[in-house]
Amino acid sequence: MSITIRGGSIVDASTESRRADVRVDGDRIVAVVAPGAALPSSDLEIDVSGCVIAPGLVDLHAHLREPGREESETIETGSRAAALGGFTAIVAMPNTEPPHDSRPVVEFVREQGRRAGLCEVLPSGCITVGRAGEVLAPYAELREAGVRFFTDDGNGVQDPLLMRRALEYARDLDIVLAQHCEVASLTKGAVMHEGACCSRLGLPGWPSLAEELMVHRDIELCRLTGATMHFLHLSTARSVELVRRAKADGLPVSAEVAPHHVSLTDEMLSGFDPVFKVNPPLRTAADIAALKVGLADGTIDAIATDHAPHAPHLKEQPLDQAPPGMLGLETALAIAITELVDTGLVSLQGVLAALSWNPARIARVEDRHGRPVTEGEPANLVVFDPTAEWVVDRNRSASRSSNNPYHGRVLRGRVRHTIFAGHAVVVEGEARR
């Protein structure tokens, strides 16, 4: 299939904005030419005036629920939500049933992603068998199956000795361990951020300290072992500061934040709607401000969705039983534009760094995602209108679930086309597969 994209402006790692027309043929970009220059005719010719053409987005953090919880999401429905959100690669979190701790499971996940054909599904691996925090998972076996990103996400690795061994063992395998930072004994039964709001609402609190203690511990373990470490969904101001200092010390650490942690505060729980229960919890306006500064100064490398679908009958339980998590794939780019670009805190190129080439590097897929938009590169692209306003409607989602915290909100920035491996998988905001 060949595609010609005319009228847009390229933004990539090397270009803040450059008007050009782009032609894709097969799975490659075959021409990047001056606006209006002659190009051979293509199967699909699209006019994208006013839009940005960028490398496809990469999500380090998507819960696809398959295998085991297909009532909430499947790899196909999650991939479709990803494509509609402009993503061409997503890391599938390991907390499925069974979890990603053996070769057959990760091969199944990758294969289901291939069958869906909407984006590249990158299975993560577990740090410990069964995500139980007791025995190391078989990293080399999983690496042979293509896994480069390992996490027990949903659980933090509690035992410092085990985490030390994990980092030491991982060091020679050129893989990255990603921590869900939560000291579990401090968050037992927690429903929301510990602070003024939880005190008023009488809901059990999740103290910031529970995250920060583990961030601090793991930074010191990186210093000790020299292994590479990624911090998942950081949510507090102190966590950002700890990572900032670790980077200043030259440690090989990276970090992500979730869109909801830069856009929603703990006050959202005032109406007791379980859609706003998420782990780590929504924090305060001061935390949001610090996370945004972290993104602006590069302390935070990536924006990762923590897309966490839950079927309605699971999510609409009393708050103490409702599972934590919210949808994110279809709104991530618009939240980033609305909260970071429109507010003047981060350039559009900076936001795309956090949504594309930085996470591509962290997930070790920089050979095919987050690439510059130039001739010969793999055709993984997103085309979006950075100024288009739209109203989020939880009932118009490709996800199987509807736990969307932005329902009814007006956001700016809308994905129009997504091209994955040379295929136009999303055209004019509609999935083609």
């Binding site: 429903v191 510990e194 602070g195 003024a196 939880c198 005190s199 008023r200 609402l201 009488g202 809901l203 059990p204 609190g205 103290p207 109406g271 007791f272 709607d273 379980p274 009958h313 609409e316 339980q317 009393p318 708050l319 103490d320 039983q321």
Partner: protein, 314 residues
């Protein structure tokens, strides 16, 4: 008023209105036949997901004295044990034609979540650590009665209230702090820091670490129930040590100023927070609280379900 779910939702005006209706209901309760036909034909369902005998009986007695029909749902005998969801339970009872749900649940916020699944009125009989508004109203009524006050937006000005014990896990404390201060009372919270909410900066209260510092100053000493399981969470070293610092015993009772009253939401832990027999305390208002509970709950049900027709239907 559609629901009674929290003290802030009804505000000071709602509190005063309900206290005035409560006094009229207390008068009904003093009649030889304490029953009126105000809610004939309306069904009140009590939906108790957490054990409570006194609150449930108090609500059901209130409903019957207004001639409402009552329906009781308690978890031990229900389909919840077969895995039925809260939503399905509410929708099933709603389909039977319920005018009001009286709900208690261990999870804060359930009365708000239920709004999505029923058009009936919702009365919060206690949600998690959050709110227990009828307890706050009956506590206010008791204080007004004992001090000979008429409810108004400033009727408790000059009244000093100490709330002692496990404030952190107490829906009674949260509701009472708001209700007492809305009518002008000064409230001091007393307890170890481990049993205080994590952040009370915005609360209109002062904090004291010792009960002995406040005994001689307060008009109302409100003792909270201390739950034994708190010991397993390392919140206090032992019940004995808790008692030595925060219990009401005969020595401390003697230090109360003349005319001060002692309150407790029940059920009491004798030998833990109450180390003196309250029936021997001249200031004990605990029995009044229980009696006032019925009048207040009659007022609430009447206010919710007697409207919009107003008055007592013939």
């Amino acid at each position: 008023m559609k629901h009674l779910r929290s003290i802030p939702e009804i505000g000071p005006d709602g509190i005063v209105r309900l206290l005035e209706i409560s006094r009229r209901m207390a008068e009904v309760n003093r009649r030889p036949v304490p029953k009126v036909p105000a809610l004939v034909g309306r069904t009140v369902a009590s939906l108790f997901f957490e054990d409570s005998t006194r609150t449930r009986l108090s609500f059901e007695t209130a409903a019957r004295r207004l001639s409402a029909d009552t329906m009781t749902f308690s978890v031990s005998t229900s389909s919840v044990n077969k895995g039925e969801s809260l939503r399905d339970t509410v929708e099933t009872l709603d389909a039977m034609g319920v005018a009001a749900f009286v709900v208690r649940h261990r999870s804060s916020g359930v009365p708000w979540q239920m709004e999505n699944w029923t058009n009936a009125s919702i009365v919060n009989a206690g949600d998690g650590w959050h709110q227990h508004p009828t307890q706050a109203l009956l506590d206010l009524l008791t204080v007004h009665d004992r001090f000979g006050l008429d409810p108004s937006l400033s009727s408790l000005r000059g009244i000093r209230v100490a709330i002692v014990g496990d404030v952190k896990h107490s829906r009674v404390a949260r509701s009472d702090v708001q209700a007492f201060t809305m009518l002008g009372a000064d409230v001091v919270l007393v307890g170890p820091a481990t049993l205080m909410p994590p952040e009370v900066d915005g609360w209109p209260v002062s904090i004291a670490g010792s009960i002995d510092d406040v005994l001689g100053e307060v008009d109302v000493l409100y003792m909270l129930r201390m739950q034994r399981e708190r010991m397993n969470e390392a919140l206090v070293p032992s019940m004995a040590e808790y008692g030595s610092r925060f219990a009401l015993d005969a020595r401390r009772a003697a230090l109360l100023k003349p005319g001060a009253i002692v309150m407790h939401p029940g059920p009491m832990n004798r030998g833990i927070e109450m180390q003196v027999d309250p029936t021997l305390l001249p200031g004990s208002a605990i029995a009044d609280q229980v009696a006032n509970g019925i009048a207040v709950r009659m007022a609430v049900l009447f206010d919710l379900l007697g409207q919009p027709e107003g008055g007592i239907p013939s």
